[in-house]
């Protein structure tokens, strides 16, 4: 299917009969077949379609019932649309790798910017972890990543920027290489960046049974606003803090560069 795998060969031409139903056209483009069915997709990720397909904002009155059953992130509503009709539709996102995943009575949590589209048989919920979304149920969804996705088994510690999502792991948590950062030398290293702060002193840790999804680069997808949560005690990100401060659930450790390193994306 690759148009450039054989140098010199003409490009493959697709029409509605040869476009794969619910599969990748190439590593960067995904084809969704609609037969009177519906798909949720992120705004603006459709690049072309055959047939007659309508795109309606999630706030569209007729979709109320659908939204009630499979969309539980009320404040995302403006970022999502429902595609409805019959035909074949191509999805892509900034020439990033796209892949589809099947969930069978399962759950998967994914960084909010990476999710492109999902079937309404899945329920979309906002994760307790800020910036992530959880899909629960049975069905197919499409996600983008910078570079191909790698599947890993816990126990594992991963770089925060490389994390795409995880399935079935109940224990995502922060991990700091404490030994490296403490003591006089560690403090100096952390404060000045001299003497080898490796930039890898902080990881996410997963243990237990499940799967962790990583992308093969540390380029983040643009974060999608995941909406706000009610201002209640005990709700992560919902405290009296600004949403920015609520993003980090981790306590400030001695020897960290305040918020500076996070601002620089380290």
């Amino acid at each position: 299917m690759s148009t450039y795998g054989t140098p010199g060969a003409g490009p493959a031409v697709f029409d509605p009969a040869t476009l794969p139903p619910d599969d990748n056209v190439n590593p960067y483009t995904f084809c969704v077949e609609l037969k009177g069915s519906q798909w949720f997709l992120q705004k603006g990720k459709m690049i072309a379609y055959y047939g007659s397909i309508d795109f309606n904002g999630v706030g569209h009155g007729r979709l109320d019932r659908l939204v009630r059953t499979s969309f539980h992130s009320p404040l995302h509503a403006s970022d999502w649309v429902v595609a409805e009709g019959s035909g074949k539709m191509l999805l892509a996102d900034r020439a990033f790798d796209v892949n589809s995943y099947d969930l069978e009575d399962g759950n998967l949590t994914i960084r909010s910017g990476n999710l492109l589209a999902f079937q309404p048989t899945l329920a979309l919920k906002q994760s307790i972890v800020p910036g992530f979304l959880t899909l629960i149920g049975t069905g197919k969804f499409v996600a983008a990543s910078n570079g191909p996705v790698v599947f890993m088994e816990p126990p594992i510690r991963v770089d925060p920027q490389a994390l795409v999502g995880w399935a079935d792991c109940p224990s995502p948590c922060h991990h700091y290489d404490h030994g490296y950062m403490t003591g006089v030398m560690g403090g100096l290293r952390a404060l000045t960046g001299l003497g080898g702060a490796s930039g890898e002193e902080h990881q996410f840790e997963f243990v237990g049974a499940g799967t962790v999804l990583l992308q093969s680069s540390e380029t983040l997808m643009a974060e999608q606003a995941t909406g706000a949560v009610p201002h209640q005690a005990g709700v992560p990100g919902g405290g009296a803090h600004s949403p920015q401060a609520g993003q980090s659930g981790a306590p400030r450790l001695p020897g960290q560069l305040g918020d500076l390193q996070r601002r620089f994306g380290l």
């Binding site: 148009t3 140098p7 031409v13 603006g44 055959y50």
Partner: protein
């Protein structure tokens, strides 16, 4: 003879003939080559004036010689297009190289061009031969036929060829104004018979946010 050295490098084997290529896109050559800037894309004074007026500017060079010449531009994906008497419509910024014998020109595209953020005019290539166009990510080639019209997001459109009619669809309703739009308010619809090239990435367009 055009061939792809890799998906991002175009190799052209030449035996005394010429190709037109985007100025400065040569990355290597072997053999004997002469590079000559073509003012106004080799379209003469009238072409130069048209391009200046329409903002569809393009600086081309003519490469002539014997041997192999390699072209690339900012690691964009390159797609080969063969033109057999029909017309290729492409944005000048997406055109990398054409056979020396192909004629290039400028054409009015109307509202469709404005929605892409690329101005009201587009570049045409016609004749018999090969051309190389660039896209952000490998382009998907979609066939349009009488029973299968195609709708494309203006931000992902790269080029089209053949006998196609295009119309501009707007789904702007009062909901769009309330920020509750479908996210695909502006679309290009192609009917007729031909091929459309779309890239797996969207340029920023005026329509991108509604």
């Amino acid at each position: 003879m055009f061939r792809l050295q890799s998906s991002k490098v175009l190799a052209v084997d030449m035996t005394g003939d010429a190709v037109k290529a985007k100025n400065g896109s040569m990355v290597a050559y072997d053999g004997e080559m002469a590079f000559k800037k073509l003012s106004g894309g080799g379209e003469g004074i009238r072409g130069m004036v048209t391009r200046r007026l329409t903002g569809e500017q393009m600086t081309l060079m003519e490469v002539k010689g014997r041997g192999t010449c390699w072209f690339a531009d900012r690691a964009s994906e390159i797609n080969l297009v063969s033109i057999q008497g029909d017309k290729l419509y492409v944005e000048s910024s997406n055109l990398l190289a054409t056979d020396g014998g192909l004629r290039t020109g400028t054409e009015f595209t109307g509202l469709r061009g404005a929605s892409q953020g690329n101005g009201l005019f587009t570049t045409t290539v016609e004749g018999h031969g090969q051309a190389a166009i660039m896209s952000d990510g490998p382009a998907v080639v979609l066939r349009v036929s009488a029973q299968y019209p195609l709708t494309v997001d203006p931000g992902a459109y790269v080029a089209h060829q053949g006998n196609l009619r295009q119309s501009f669809q707007s789904g702007v309703t009062f909901r769009t104004l309330l920020g509750e739009g479908g996210g695909e308010a502006f679309q290009m619809r192609f009917e007729g018979d031909g091929l459309v090239y779309v890239q797996p990435s969207e340029r920023n367009t005026i329509a991108g946010d509604v």
